[in-house]
């Protein structure tokens, strides 16, 4: 296609291929989406350190159609960005979509799902985390009684050591038996 400025060096592309579940064409496509979000901020030439330094602001990323309607969009940006700020570099952006891609394994998806649903970031899904998840999921459409019912059922199904919250092991155990998880925890880009 002629002499065009290459966005990444071959070493960079290879490194990205090895560290994510994407092929080189998909990585370039994702870069074009990333750049389209903030064309003036993101340079074409990312062969230097731009992939780790240039950040796109949190609210710009949330305008993407893939994330716009997601009730957990704030958490997603928080989980995948450094220090939880929500402003993402290209590498973090790429990592995010790699986890959400179809080729990602169930294990890595469940790790990140746990982090997304853990609102207070303490490493456990306690009642308040579950209630917050329900709130976002149903857009505050359930009464307190109904929410208690659902949270109790979830804890009863998943909390094997009876301590009132879900640790990662319990969450993973339950997720591995959830038939819909792999299908729904998936964003196509």
């Amino acid at each position: 296609m002629g002499n065009k400025i290459s966005t990444f060096t071959p070493e960079q592309l290879e490194a990205y291929e090895d560290c994510t579940f994407f092929t080189s064409k998909e990585i370039l496509h994702i870069f074009s989406r990333y750049q389209a979000l903030a064309p003036d901020k993101v340079p074409y030439d990312m062969t230097g350190k731009e992939a780790q330094t240039v950040r796109i602001a949190h609210d710009v990323i949330l305008t993407m159609p893939e994330l716009k309607e997601n009730p957990f969009k704030d958490q997603i940006c928080k989980v995948f960005s450094e220090e939880g700020s929500g402003h993402m570099t290209f590498e973090e952006f790429l990592d995010m979509f790699s986890v959400f891609s179809e080729a990602a394994s169930r294990d890595i998806k469940s790790v990140y799902a746990f982090k997304i649903y853990d609102w207070d970031g303490d490493g456990n899904l306690n009642r308040s985390d579950l209630e917050a998840t329900l709130l976002k999921l149903t857009q505050d459409g359930l009464t307190q009684d109904e929410k208690n019912f659902v949270v109790d059922k979830v804890l009863e199904e998943a909390d094997l050591d009876d301590d009132g919250m879900l640790s990662y092991v319990e969450f993973e155990h339950v997720i591995s038996r959830a038939p819909d998880f792999l299908n729904t925890f998936h964003v196509r880009i």
């Binding site: 994510t20 019912f149 301590d163 092991v169 819909d180 196509r188």
Partner: protein, 785 residues
């Protein structure tokens, strides 16, 4: 140290409990992975994974995501112990599985590549090089698939609007396109040689040594009739390459290409290729299917963590999805209450008897309905063939049109039955009082039965029409059957009519039924359209339509070699019609379709239909006498003789080998062996299941042990608060676990839920829910189960 107890007897995470290893997310994430993989006895694998586990355990224990340069440095020191390229490649492959931020992973990779790796030689190196080459080939193939993905952008749009359930239908459709395309390529072996060496003498040539009546077809010159002939497959259409009768093989007699052998081999290989493609699809999903089979014990977790479809991009779809998640949660709650209530009611013996009698009556009714519809199809097909043969020479527009209508009557009947009966099934199943999940399953099973039964009846009717006719007999009998000189073409014509009807049905349904209905729903202000509602995209019905038409193509291949071309065309047209329907006519469903969100389920139905279809095809080849007036098999007694005669031309070694393979001495033990294998696998599966149950019980006991020990530790530390009461009963056995379902205290005032058959709207449901749970649902602390 803080008081380790929170409210209601739960431990505060910042205390002792927070330091437990199982709470450290990274460690536990990898431990499970390492645990699974270290079953392998490969030494190099163990060491590389040991490296990875050390690596992760030195990484951040915080749950925030952030680059850990110093931790990565420490981990990288472990890489110094990697010496072979193969090991390095393995560790490299596991890097992408780490749940760490990108920067850390890139650093790890850099450190890994800098390690002291020596070049190894010999066989191991060669194997490793091969693996690397395979990997790069696979990557190139993935890249190619990504750029050339057929209909990719359409699928993304549909997914954004409707979610993954509907998209799975389109993925299934795309896979069917692949199957039909392969069949099309294979069928070229039949019609391309015939087209090249064209000799349109489809009448019996000098090679036919029988006294069959001459197979000749009248072609009328009336323009109207010509159009009709296209739809009926008669007249000029009958003489084309579409049907079996064209393929006389006369033109190829001078070449070494035996059309008869090619014909039978192509038919068999088409079926085999379809089977392989379907099997490949199933196998790739199989592990997930087994895992997803689930045991119903994690329903609510699935609802909370797995229902939000991350692929939704459209605003209206998202709000509809929120509503449907609410609805699902509420209906699940209602369901729990309903099941408890039903159990209580059924303690009463007389009520139980009544319920079972109702169920038996309903099942008998359904069997009768299926039987009646089967008989109806048989009668209509019979009537149709009789009418056509009686009125073979009518003229005049109305009579001819009437004849056309009667010819399509079987197809119309089948479509009408397929549309109406599932509605009846849905209405009737309410009286049987099953749980929601079972209702869906059983309605689906009954609908599948209906579709397959109609196809079977059609086949049987055709068979009786064909074997009854006077063909290939010198002495003419005075049978009342219609005289069919070329029965394969006749069967091909009937199937052709069905295919055309099916094709038109798809187009008509979308353009003339769904789009106007949607328009009327939106524009008209009269109440009737609002009551009927907008058109719905019913996934199981659409999938069964696809399965039905695929069955028709499999059957038609033998009798109409151009059928796969039609099939490819039809799949493409179906895609665009359905896309139009989904994007413009049908709004996203408020009630999510519970039936089968996975493609595996569709594929299983297709597989069953495939086996049912391959029976008539096999029978035709094996036990039916081909017409002696037309077609490539006219010199043979049975069609499979084409193969046996070819084998006879082989050297004696080859012949002996072939005879051995197909003899019962080999196939019999093979079948027995396969049956034993299936039995062994099923026994293994049930053994694994019971082991999993034992482990689950053990997990629960370990949890209780841990709680007890924690309490003791707290006490020793000077804490004097009482121990938390257990939420569960003592798991004395497996049964107890299944029974520990916390039900809301009130059961009596829940009659209001079941009085509505239709799903109540959100508002009313909300009210009912709050009246149902009149006592606020307290934590079941110790209620003596």
């Amino acid at each position: 140290m803080e008081n380790g107890h929170g409210t209601k007897g739960h431990f505060d995470d910042r205390g002792l409990a927070g330091q437990l290893p199982s709470r450290q997310i990274h460690q536990s994430a990898l431990r499970t992975k390492v645990g699974r993989n270290s079953i392998a006895s490969d030494d190099s694998k163990k060491s590389s994974l040991a490296i990875m586990s050390v690596l992760i355990s030195t990484m951040s224990r915080r749950n925030r995501v952030g680059p850990d340069t110093e931790e990565a440095e420490k981990a990288a020191q472990q890489f110094q112990s990697i010496t072979t390229e193969e090991e390095r490649h393995k560790v490299l492959h596991t890097i992408r599985q780490l749940p760490s931020p990108m920067a850390t992973k890139m650093q790890l990779k850099k450190k890994l590549m800098e390690g002291p790796v020596t070049e190894s030689y010999g066989v191991k190196q060669m194997k490793f090089e091969n693996k690397k080459r395979m990997q790069s080939v696979k990557n190139a193939w993935h890249n190619f698939k990504y750029t050339m993905e057929l209909w990719g952008s359409s699928m993304r749009t549909i997914e954004g609007h409707h979610g993954t359930g509907v998209v799975s239908y389109f993925v299934f459709l795309r896979y069917l396109l692949l199957v039909n395309f392969c069949m099309f390529l294979l069928s070229m072996f039949i019609w391309v040689p015939e087209a090249i060496h064209d000799e349109s003498a489809y009448t019996s040539g000098s090679t036919a040594a029988t006294c069959t009546p001459l197979y000749d077809v009248n072609v009328s010159s009336n323009a109207f009739e010509l159009i009709l002939d296209f739809f009926q497959g008669s007249g000029w259409m009958e003489k084309t390459m579409m049907f079996y009768g064209y393929y006389s093989g006369n033109g190829l007699e001078n070449t070494s290409y035996k059309l008869s052998l090619a014909y039978i081999l192509v038919c068999i290989s088409c079926l085999v290729v379809s089977l392989i493609l379907m099997g490949k699809y199933l196998v790739s999903d199989f592990r997930e299917t087994i895992l997803n089979a689930g045991d119903g014990l994690t329903e609510f977790c699935n609802k909370v963590f797995g229902t939000w479809d991350y692929a939704l991009t459209d605003n209206t779809s998202a709000s509809i999805k929120h509503k449907s998640v609410r609805f699902e949660l509420l209906s699940d709650m209602n369901e729990q209450i309903f099941v408890k209530e039903r159990e209580q009611r059924l303690r009463d013996g007389s009520l139980r008897c009544k319920l079972y009698t109702i169920r038996i009556i309903i099942n008998i009714f359904i069997v009768l309905v299926l039987g009646a519809s089967g008989y109806l199809i048989y009668y209509v097909t019979d009537y149709s063939t009789g009418y056509v043969s009686r009125n073979a020479d009518v003229s005049g527009t109305t009579e001819v049109l009437l004849k056309l209508l009667v010819q399509f009557l079987p197809a119309i009947t089948i479509s009408a039955l397929n549309g109406m009966l599932p509605v009846i099934f849905q209405k009737v199943v309410v009286g049987e009082e099953y749980t929601n999940a079972f209702v869906v399953k059983i309605t689906l099973v009954r609908t599948v039965f209906l579709r397959l039964a109609s196809l079977t009846v059609l086949m049987v009717t055709l068979y009786s029409a064909v074997t009854c006719s006077t063909r290939s007999v010198c002495m003419s009998t005075s049978s009342p059957c219609s005289v069919i000189t070329c029965w394969e073409t006749y069967v091909g014509q009937q199937l052709y009519k069905l295919i055309i009807a099916d094709f038109l049905a798809v187009i008509i349904k979308t353009l003339l039924v769904e789009l106007p209905r949607r328009l009327c729903y939106e524009k008209c202000s009269c109440g009737i359209f609002k009551k009927i509602g907008p058109p719905e995209f019913d996934i199981p019905a659409c999938v069964l339509d696809l399965v039905y038409s695929q069955c028709l193509y499999w059957l038609a291949l033998t009798f109409a070699p151009l059928a796969p071309t039609f099939a490819v065309l039809k799949v493409v047209v179906t895609f665009y019609m359905k896309r139009l329907s989904v994007l413009k006519a049908c709004p996203p469903a408020e009630q999510p379709s519970r039936a089968s969100r996975t493609n595996t389920f569709f594929m299983v139905i297709l597989l069953i239909a495939f086996f049912i279809c391959s029976v008539p095809v096999g029978y035709v080849f094996y036990d039916m006498e081909p017409s002696h007036g037309c077609g490539p098999f006219r010199t043979y007694g049975y069609m499979y003789h084409a193969i046996t005669q070819t084998v006879e031309g082989w050297p004696s070694g080859g012949q002996g080998f072939y005879n051995l393979i197909v003899s019962p001495a080999v196939t019999g033990p093979l079948i027995i062996f396969l049956i034993l294998l299936i039995y062994y696998c099923s026994v293994l599966a049930s053994a694994h299941k019971s082991v999993a149950d034992i482990y689950r019980e053990q997990l629960v006991m370990e949890g209780r042990d841990k709680q007890y020990l924690m309490v003791k530790v707290m006490e020793l530390g000077g804490d004097s608060t009482p121990a938390p009461k257990p939420r569960r009963a003592q798991p004395a056995g497996l049964k107890n676990i299944n029974e520990t379902a916390p039900a809301p205290r009130k059961v009596a005032s829940t009659n209001s839920f079941r009085s509505n058959d239709r799903p109540p709207s959100y508002q009313t449901n909300n009210q009912q829910m709050s009246t149902g749970l009149s006592s606020p649902h307290a934590m079941p602390v110790d209620d003596g189960w």
